[in-house]
């Protein structure tokens, strides 16, 4: 089916718009009584606009984009996982180790040879770490390499 992407997006936005608009009506009346403009006025307008927009998308969708399948989709998923894991490990492992792993993995998956990829990661991690911690006086987490 052509335009499936826009239709699904439209449906998602419609749900979002309705939920957003509904939530706005649930807020308690602000202290001092209701006036012409309350905290819910603006969100209500936005939700109406988005409902209209999402309906339009569903009725008149644009042709579909080409979505990645198979290997490309897998690579994308890997990249996102790498970024999330990088965030998780940043503080426990410390900046240098986690960055070497993250930048290395990304470069490697984007087509670099493993050795160059991880060397790129290590070098860039050390350079940025030294630059930030000693040059600019910021503290990036040292993690496992922390010297007490």
């Amino acid at each position: 089916m052509t335009g499936a992407g826009d239709r699904i997006l439209g449906l998602g936005l419609l749900v979002l718009a309705v939920a957003y608009g509904w939530a706005a009506q649930q807020w308690p009346e602000p202290f001092g009584g209701a006036e012409g403009v309350g905290p819910e006025t603006f969100p209500t307008i936005l939700s109406v606009v988005l409902v209209a927009g999402s309906l339009y998308l569903m009725i008149k969708p644009d042709p579909d984009a080409r979505w990645p399948v198979g290997k490309s989709a897998l690579e994308l998923a890997i990249s996102v996982v790498v970024l999330v894991v990088y965030t998780m490990l940043l503080e426990p492992l410390g900046f240098v180790i986690s960055t070497t792993l993250a930048v290395g993995t990304l470069s490697w998956r984007m087509g670099g040879t493993p050795l160059t990829a991880f060397m790129t990661g290590l070098i860039s991690a050390v350079v940025v770490f030294v630059l930030f911690n000693y040059g600019l006086g910021l503290s990036l987490p040292g993690g496992l390499l922390e010297v007490n």
Partner: protein, 508 residues
């Protein structure tokens, strides 16, 4: 002349060694950003924002740094246009038409030199235009009431897609999404918690810096991963400059026309740098007609679009500085910096923060000179960077973005948010929902709500106040046109731009 006095004070700010150093750094980094594959100007400036913060720069220095990056990025875009026939950024598209043929004829060095000079002229004309126009517009904008501002914001959103934009409805959706994100947090007027779900980190709202960096930088990485264009390009040879003085002189009228046209296109809502360079090029082709060899490597075909897009980039600062309403993605990112420095953009900035405004304007002038100076001798260095493979570059850029966002708050919560924005940005870009209106919505949302509230309180809840003054009606009318015109004129213009690209005999 009052303006001249202010400008002198601006120079006094911009010429301090400290600020001059950052202007130079910005110009250099900007050119890098412009010429490196996969780093657009908006993206590049966005990554610089958290860094400017963590450096603890004073407001005027931070703005000078970012403005220089902005000006530099416009310079850098041309390098890959000329050498590789791949525009470094969208406005540099027209430079391919004559720049690449020149390079093929072995005159790459000349093309690079003339484009640097034309960029300088364009930037200079644009900045002079900015100096003359901005104070007048700022004074005029002081008469705006809240209703006019609300209408003006609508105009900004409606025209943001630009005349060449594809589906205006998607611009509307994007802007609405952005404004919706901006309503998260505690309502300033009443203290009501909105959409916080009791999460402490959301009470202050979603920081637009991490949203911008996520939307641009992370989604760019994902696009590269998907397209798997990780390999580098072969090394380029630039050769020696053979440009004669006579040739240079022959392009002066072209540069002048291009700069003026570009500036006008930059100031007008909905036009922007891409259209600026397109109009400059087409006009030049019409004016010189048979006398030129356009499309086959005419130096005036390189000078015109470059002067045009640099004129436009200065022009685009006019609405941003005077009204607080940016007309392009990169100026929206500059606005983000202003807002996070706690400076309310708009006409009052000219009186309350005159040092910053005029410092920035003076920095633009100085930046242009610096750019010309570093671009001619260092061009070989920038050319070598073109062959850096994105597979090493983009992960490093992403890491720098992580470092920047992390160093603002030292919380990994923000990083998760940034990744989430990146993934969201990827899907939205895939579905052709433009990202710039989202950013603008995020930035302008609170101001819009505030002005709406003020207008309605002043009128005692009468909604017609929003379109009761002639000025407001005018804004609404232009906003309406901004949404309708793209569907009528857009396809024609887009086809012409495409046709121009195809006409050039060597493009592949």
């Amino acid at each position: 002349m009052e303006t001249l006095g202010f400008l002198m004070e601006g120079f006094a700010v911009a010429l301090t060694p400290y600020n001059l150093m950052f202007a130079l750094l910005g110009a250099f980094v900007g050119t890098l950003i412009g010429c490196l594959p996969g780093l657009g100007p908006a993206n590049g400036v966005a990554i610089m924002i958290p860094l400017a913060f963590t450096l603890g720069l004073p407001p005027e220095t931070a703005m000078i740094l970012l403005t220089s990056v902005y000006a530099g990025a416009m310079y850098g875009g041309r390098i890959s246009s000329i050498l590789l026939n791949i525009p470094g950024d969208e406005p540099a598209m027209m430079t391919c038409l004559d720049g690449y043929p020149m390079a093929q004829k072995g005159r790459a060095a000349d093309a690079l030199a003339i484009s640097a000079i034309a960029s300088f002229t364009g930037g200079l004309i644009g900045t002079i235009g900015l100096i003359m126009l901005a104070p007048i517009l700022a004074k005029f904008a002081l008469t705006f009431g809240p209703a006019e501002y609300f209408a003006l914001f609508m105009l900004a959103f409606a025209t943001l897609g630009g005349i060449t934009g594809k589906n205006p409805m998607k611009t509307v959706i994007a802007a609405t999404l952005g404004i919706m994100i901006s309503t998260v947090g505690i309502d300033i007027a009443t203290g009501t918690q909105r959409y916080t779900f009791g999460v402490l980190e959301l009470y202050e709202g979603i920081d637009f810096i991490l949203a911008i960096v996520g939307l641009f930088a992370i989604s760019e990485l994902l696009f590269f991963v998907e397209a798997r264009i990780g390999g580098g390009r072969k090394k380029m040879n630039v050769g020696k400059i053979t440009l004669s003085f006579k040739e240079l002189v022959s392009t002066i009228p072209t540069q002048f026309r291009g700069g003026v046209l570009g500036f006008i296109a930059g100031v007008l809502p909905g036009a922007g740098a891409s259209l600026g360079s397109f109009i400059s090029y087409t006009l030049e082709k019409q004016v010189l007609g048979k006398k030129g060899t356009f499309g086959e490597g005419d130096i005036r075909g390189v000078a015109a679009p470059e002067a045009g897009n640099n004129g436009a980039s200065s022009g685009a600062l006019v609405p941003m500085l005077t009204l607080g309403v940016p007309g392009s993605g990169t100026t929206a990112v500059l606005l983000a910096m202003l807002i996070s420095l706690n400076i309310t953009p708009g006409p009052l900035m000219f009186t309350q923060h005159a040092d910053i405004v005029w410092g920035v304007i003076a920095a633009l002038l100085i930046g242009n000179v610096l750019l010309l100076i570093i671009n001619i001798p260092l061009v070989g260095f920038f050319v070598r960077l073109l062959s850096v493979p994105p597979m090493y570059l983009l992960p490093i850029v992403t890491m720098v973005a992580f470092v920047g966002v992390y160093s603002i708050s030292h919380s990994t919560f923000d990083l998760y948010f940034m990744v989430a924005f990146g993934v969201g940005g990827y899907f939205l870009r895939k579905l052709e929902i433009p990202l710039v209106p989202i950013i603008l919505g995020l930035l302008l949302g609170p101001e819009m709500e505030k002005n709406l509230g003020h207008a309605l309180i002043l009128s005692d809840g009468d909604w017609t106040v929003l379109w009761s003054s002639p000025l407001a009606i005018g804004f609404w009318a232009v906003a309406g046109l901004g949404l309708v015109l793209p569907t009528l004129v857009g396809p024609i213009l887009r086809r012409r731009m495409h046709a121009a690209m195809k006409e050039s005999p060597v493009s592949d």
